[in-house]
């Protein structure tokens, strides 16, 4: 499946049905045992050739940050709130797609001409922003986008620069894309590929998925904020797009298994797969719940450096995306 198909798909946290249906179809071609648990996680079990080897879970989250409709104005504009961690600064003057059917909407801003200097110096928060779908009044707006309707950024996939891609939801459809690639091959160990729901609203899908898994090791495929350009001092750069997949020793939610962390870096070096150590402890992801659900698992995170991660345009480099799949595959083959 093309990355473009995955990033274009609709799937904010709690409403992953469209993207899951897409992934399920692709997964069923590569795996005989595909199931969905009661949090909506898609679990694909692929038996290994050697049943004495430990089972490995590899996970990526299907859900994306988005928005939910919370009210209306008399003029027919929609009030909304973010799903997941979205800085209101990145939503002004952007395009949205509401519901599975993709009703178009735009988020405007008051004209600069009618704003005082003081007002222009303030952040336009979610309490001052509205979605315009062209409705003429509250009643029409309510009919078109009932309370609780979900929305996502409407951003066409674009390749640009030297090997870069910009799209919505690269976090974490890149992981889903690579996970589907891993499912194409045979391994000695049992492989359990988990396409997770609700990562962006508190690592919730992975919690129930992990509970029912019989794996001993979990590898999480993620995207991580790079913070490598502009006014960020070099000491705060987290990673560098183009320098390979990131291996984390720790983030805000979990500490990597030391052996797995070292093993990944050594494997990358031995096989010439570009990799870098994530130079910070920012972010948090599903590794936390895999590590601490049920009996617990040894975890490690492989992330693709991603610029502008929770905005309309996530930016990542293809060479890093490939390196994530290469390193995960090499790891599975090395067991």
């Amino acid at each position: 499946m093309e990355l473009r198909t995955l990033t274009d798909a609709f799937g904010p946290s709690g409403y992953e049905n469209p993207v899951r249906a897409l992934i399920r179809k692709a997964a069923e071609k590569r795996c005989d045992d595909v199931s969905v648990d009661r949090m909506g996680n898609l679990i694909c079990r692929k038996p290994g050739r050697d049943r004495t080897k430990p089972a490995v879970a590899v996970a990526a989250h299907m859900d994306e940050i988005g928005f939910i409709i919370t009210g209306y104005t008399d003029d027919g504009l929609l009030r909304f709130r973010p799903i997941g961690g979205i800085d209101p600064r990145v939503v002004v003057s952007k395009w949205l797609s509401i519901g599975e059917e993709g009703l178009p909407g735009v988020i405007g801003a008051p004209p600069i001409h009618l704003q005082s200097a003081e007002e222009r110096g303030q952040v336009l928060g979610f309490n001052k922003l509205y979605i315009d779908i062209g409705a003429k009044d509250q009643k029409e707006a309510e009919g078109l986008a009932p309370l609780g309707s979900y929305a996502v950024f409407d951003t066409p996939y674009m390749e640009f620069g030297e090997g870069f891609v910009a799209a919505k939801a690269l976090d974490d459809r890149i992981g889903c894309f690579n996970l589907l690639k891993l499912l194409e091959e045979e391994y000695d160990s049992d492989l359990i590929c988990v396409f997770v729901t609700q990562e962006e609203v508190g690592l919730r899908g992975s919690q129930t998925a992990a509970f029912a898994l019989e794996a001993e090791i979990a590898v999480v495929l993620e995207g991580t904020a790079a913070n490598d350009l502009g006014d960020v001092e070099e000491r705060f750069h987290v990673c560098t797009p183009g320098e390979g997949v990131c291996v984390s020793f720790m983030d805000r939610a979990s500490i990597a298994d030391r052996e797995l962390f070292r093993a990944m870096l050594e494997l990358a070096k031995a096989q010439g797969i570009p990799a870098q150590v994530k130079r910070g402890i920012t972010g948090g992801n599903d590794a936390a719940s895999f590590q601490r659900s049920g009996r617990g698992m040894r975890t490690v995170v492989l992330s693709v450096p991603c610029r502008y991660i929770h905005s309309a345009n996530n930016v990542a480099k293809w060479s890093d995306i490939r390196a994530q799949a290469d390193l995960a595959r090499a790891f599975l083959k090395s067991l």
Partner: protein, 345 residues
Amino acid sequence: MEIKAFLQEVTTRRGLPGDEGPVAQWVAERFSEYCDEVRVDAMHSVVGRIKGEGPRLAFVAHLDEVGLMVTNIEEDGSLRLGQVGGIDPRILPGMRLKVFGLETLPGIVGAKAPHLLSQEERSKAQTLGDMYVDLGLAPDKVKELVRVGDQVQLEQRFVDLKNGRVASKTLDDRCCVAILYRAMQLLEGLKHQADLYFIASSQEEVGGRGAMTSAFHTEPDMAMVLDVGFAHQPGCDREVTRNLDAPLNTVGPYLNPVLTKKLEDIAKQIKVSLQKEVAPRGTGTDTDEVSASRSGVPSVLIGVPVRNMHTAVEVLDLSALEEAARLVAHFAAAARTAWEEELWN
């Protein structure tokens, strides 16, 4: 060409102030479908003429767009920006811009992520100086393809909303250029006496500079200026905003009251409902320059309301556009030399 198709096409064209050549060329071609003569003047304004015996009546809508300009190229290859016309930098983070370097390059606007900001920084809006453009290119490549002074355009998406409303950048003021084009079509079915000039003016966003020279050159006896106004939306004082679905007419000292009365009468005859707007002093449109050209040009000002003016998601109602075009055509058809006698009595 249908008016919506015109609008969709014209809003994609390149034409920041001082760089209206590409959009001017395209508009000149469209105008020439209906005009007897069309020229693009030294300031890149387009002047189309449909001949008549008199008086000389000019219609003016501006062609340029607000945008940005490369002011610096950083060592990491990111670009710093300056404004060309009034842009609220708060609309930029996460937007795909178009950089007109030696090649046209897409770039994403970045700024420090919120977790890297102090509590104090987080409460304040980021300024243009806090932002940069990421071209996804190595610094050497950036320096090869981009020069300081290159122009940068806002993201262009033309979106159909409900009820015949559309969202796009640069509806200000190319929707009024579209009104002129549509009025030319309607004039095919009407008789007119006036010598008609249709001016798509340059450099309005930096101060009516194109209209100044075009008005001088065409020497109109009277003028109608068309520009967008403010539609109701949250965060704006409703004293100065209007409904989206009908055209506007501005009154105030810069506008001629007698000519405005004629406009109102024509609107009534053809059943165009006009919403009044009041400009107690300058109108902030080309009217301010046109009305004081040479020995003075009695002027009226009409327009259509838009939401989110000067953003990439300006919104208007196509029905207001069509109504405005009908008014322009009938005003052009009604203009008489005798009007001039009445204007100052």
